[in-house]
């Protein structure tokens, strides 16, 4: 298990952490910055659309189509194509845009499902109390949909952080660079680096998942926590799409 020793050695070299631009810390920072931008952009696009579609009860078919189509597009293809489109150019922008494309479906689907799953009786009661369409959306439907929005945010964020690794295949930066560079040097020479990079990226993805899991719990109002309804509908959604 020579590679494990090499990986430990590689991780113990302070220069591998602090190298400006190519060290673990700099790459991690870039990785998180790109991911945050993509998720934020995704929220700006998907939430208003999903909430509106859910509120008006239209466009369920559109939500399913968006999820299915993006599932079939390889990330690598988008990452390769976008930099070749003249007005986007190379650098971080094409990576952020590609990742946004993959952040939208879970955000959209959950926003839509969240609003659709509001009890029709609650909606009617709100209407009966004289709430207008906007008031109904803001003061009744949106708060009740928070658990779904949070679940969608977590799924999207974890997926984006994981997918951002692939940016390294098109020289787009992020923690994947460690792995990509290692493979470039060859396993004989940099097997330890490849292994170390893989472990770092896996650790990052699992930590993001864990932290956002806690956030999801915190933002969910107590009466809505751990309701079986949500888990069931999640399964149903995956089975459909």
């Amino acid at each position: 298990m020579n590679y494990i020793n090499q990986a430990v050695l590689w991780l113990n070299d302070p220069l591998n952490w602090t190298n400006p631009g190519t060290g673990i810390i700099a790459l991690l920072e870039q990785h998180l910055r790109i991911s945050a931008a993509a998720v934020l952009l995704g929220c700006l696009i998907a939430w208003p659309l999903g909430l509106w579609l859910g509120h008006s009860g239209r466009g369920g078919g559109l939500v399913v189509v968006v999820s299915n189509v993006t599932l079939a597009i390889p990330t690598l293809a988008l990452l390769s194509i976008l930099p070749l489109i003249a007005f986007i150019g190379i650098g971080e922008l094409p990576v952020i845009l590609s990742l946004t494309v993959f952040a939208v479906p879970p955000l959209l689907a959950n926003a839509y499902t969240g609003l659709r799953s509001v009890d029709p009786e609650v909606r009617e009661a709100a209407r009966g109390m004289g709430l207008s369409g906007w008031q109904l959306l803001w003061r009744v439907e949106l708060p009740l949909a928070v658990p779904y929005l949070a679940a969608g945010f977590r799924t999207a964020a974890v997926q984006v952080v994981a997918t951002a690794t692939l940016a390294a295949l098109v020289a787009g930066g992020g923690l994947g660079e460690i792995i990509s560079e290692g493979f470039g040097l060859g396993l004989a020479k940099a097997g330890g680096q490849v292994l170390a990079g893989g472990l770092l990226v896996a650790l990052l993805a699992l930590s993001v998942e864990g932290v956002l899991g806690i956030v999801e719990r915190v933002v969910t109002p107590r009466p809505l926590r751990r309701s079986k309804r949500i888990r069931k509908s999640k399964v149903a959604l995956t089975a459909e799409s």
């Binding site: 390889p74 990330t75 690598l76 390769s80 070749l84 692939l166 792995i179 292994l195 089975a239």
Partner: protein, 230 residues
């Protein structure tokens, strides 16, 4: 083209088009070989994943205390980014097909386990009890009653797993076996658009064809659902 040629435009469109029949024609054998590898890797991975995942789902269905751990473990594996998984596997499995197939199997697992489990959970309790009352043992009831009734869930899982595996196979480019991903990567490094778009379109078409194939097989295997609908 009767338009007067502007040299810049002509250069740009001739040298780097988004699509080129010439490219397809000149490289048909390379493209077909990549497509073939891509399809083989996908099918291999999904078949292995199904062989592992369906018994796991049955196990989780029979013994409730395994449900949590099985779902949690496949969930953790699913969260690990593909690049990281290939990076962790490659030093031990080697640079080659094995690493790609194992990685793809790991990703397909969760989807199939979760959907199979959901399918088994949707079998009505009275059907199960009726089977028991007719003298079916646990295994016979599973094979002849419950699994057939859970087929829609199983098929949904297989379809999802297949479509995402087709897309994910491209990442195998890291260890030199990415199927059509090889072309995407080569096109990117050579800054040649037609190669990238051709491979991308083929990836999406392959996903669609396999999805349709599975959907059709699923329909043929569940004739009672159609009869009920009509």
């Amino acid at each position: 083209m009767s338009l007067p040629d502007s040299p810049v435009l002509a250069y740009a469109s001739a040298a780097n088009p988004w699509f080129s029949w010439q490219y397809m024609h000149d490289n048909s054998s390379t493209v077909l070989a990549a497509l073939r590898e891509h399809a083989l890797l996908t099918v291999e991975a999904v078949v292995v994943a199904a062989v592992v995942a369906i018994p796991l789902a049955v196990l989780a269905h029979w013994y409730r205390r395994f449900t949590g751990p099985i779902l949690a473990l496949s969930g953790v594996l699913y969260t690990i980014p593909s690049l990281a998984l290939f990076a962790v596997l490659a030093p031990f499995v080697g640079i080659g097909r094995g690493t790609v197939v194992i990685g793809l199997v790991v990703y397909a697992l969760l989807v199939i386990v979760r959907n199979t489990l959901a399918g088994l959970g949707q079998v009505p309790e009275d059907v199960r009890e009726a089977a028991q009352g007719m003298g079916y043992g646990r295994l016979a009831s599973l094979l002849r009653i419950e699994l057939p009734l859970a087929l829609p869930g199983v098929v949904a899982g297989l379809r999802l797993a297949t479509v995402s595996t087709v897309a994910l196979t491209t990442v195998g480019v890291l260890v030199g076996h990415g199927g059509l991903g090889q072309l995407i990567s080569a096109g990117f490094h050579a800054n040649y658009r037609a190669e990238i778009t051709t491979a991308t379109v083929l990836v999406v078409v392959l996903a669609l064809i396999l999805d349709l194939l599975l959907a059709t097989v699923g329909r043929l295997m569940t004739p009672w659902l159609r009869r009920r609908a009509s």
